[in-house]
Symmetry: C2
Subunit: 233 residues, 2 copies
DNA sequence: TCCGCCATAGTGGTCTGACCACCTGGCCGG
DNA sequence: CCGGCCAGGTGGTCAGACCACTATGGCGGA
């Protein structure tokens, strides 16, 4: 009856591809609910175990979402859903790879900040200021880090490219930054960070893209150079 | 007995986190072989089915690699291994998200090309030329696309940032580009593409970063603008 | 002695069927 | 009419069996 699968790879892998294809071809819309695991297994002619592995795989990729007791749904397939796995990359990278990731972040962050300088709205600017002042008002590293992240996320959002913002979010994932900061803050980098953030903010207020680009690049580049030196030592 | 897991999330999710943690803490080195599925399941106190789901999840993320009949191994955790999932993102993105991805690619590709202009070696330059001439010597879209990909990949590699090269590779994944090209090539874009590639190559030969950046940005931007227009229509 | 074949043990891959935990919606009683 | 209860359906987990493949080491022949 079914001559769709001419035997290639594992059945699970095949199931993953088939579901991905269904979504790619539009047979499954974002947010739509899929048949039950049991039905899907029958449809593709495989066991429920294999089908579950396929579903689990697509779940960690941010393509599907399983709700216990309710069903399996296609995510909205937005940038945030799919790029969440980017954080894993950042978390598992070490040594020279960390420097490379920071270099990528520097390139994207500087461009995003430049775009934001041109496009940011008063409301968004107010939000940025909120995190800036909150960050300056505390000495708790945890809180500083949180506002630091929010500061940059808000700016990336103002750049108007959700995909880029999602990537930057992954590149700044909590554990990633925490790992770098642990050693970085020892050299009293808080003050410098605050100065750099102020410079970025000033460029945003002035709607000066080039100044914003330079300030952001310098900000990330500072950490990048420090990390590079650490590895060379 | 075991107070490691105080009940949070599904057992599979917990297993995923635990294995990730083992790698993050260095208890599992890249390339190292893991215990068997059966042993791992016993160690973490879960069933083999759940353990298999966890392994499958980490497999699609490029963290683990399962070899039938041999065992499960940690990948080298290099950029290419972990960023393969980036291709999935590109394949499943549609509409405005495609434009955003192209914008990200434009930013990274232009910078990568600029870096390459400064650092490229004669050998690498020869390789680039090979793909350029091969691309000009055929009319088969399939082959042109293949050499087009290789052309950019070689340049990205010459930039000296493996991570960036891997991301660009994902952003240029076969199905992604094929989808865009299907409509794009109708307007006789082959000639324009060749011209643009020639301009990029010329900048590389001259070791002129700024010219390279401009040429690469224009090259990607061309497609980006076309796609933007398509969506607006 | 050495090489090559092959039996075998061990591994991941798949299947089955059962049970549990949770959500949902409808029914029933207030 | 409303609220709580309950049953059916769903994903989550488990157990055990068998299959497909790989690697290893021993055996036989050259």
């Amino acid at each position: 009856m079914d001559e769709t699968a001419p035997q290639k790879g594992t059945v699970t892998q095949r199931a993953i591809e088939q579901i991905k294809a269904m979504i790619g071809e539009g047979r499954l819309e974002p947010g739509q609910r899929l048949p039950t695991e049991r039905d899907l297994a029958v449809q593709l002619g495989i066991s429920r175990s294999s089908m579950r592995e396929a579903i689990r795989a697509l779940t960690v990729l941010g393509v599907l979402e399983a709700r216990h007791g309710s069903g399996i749904y296609v995510t909205q397939l937005e940038a945030g859903d799919l790029l969440e796995t980017f954080g894993v990359v950042a978390d598992l990278s070490r040594g020279p790879r960390l420097v490379e990731l920071l270099e990528v972040r520097r390139i994207l962050e500087s461009t995003a900040t430049a775009l934001a300088a041109a496009r940011i709205t008063p409301d968004q600017l107010a939000e940025v200021e909120k995190h800036l002042t909150a960050m300056n008002a505390t000495e708790d590293p945890e809180e500083i880090l949180a506002h630091d992240l929010a500061f940059h996320r808000e700016i990336a959002g103002a750049a108007g490219n959700e995909t880029m913002a999602a990537i930057l979010d992954g590149l700044s994932s909590r554990t990633f930054r925490a790992r770098v900061w642990r050693g970085y803050q020892e050299e009293g980098a808080f003050a410098r960070t605050r100065r750099e953030h102020t410079a970025i903010h000033r460029a945003l207020v002035a709607h000066d893209p080039e100044a914003a680009r330079a300030a952001a690049a310098a900000h990330v580049g500072e950490v990048e150079q420090w990390l590079r030196a650490q590895l060379g030592a």
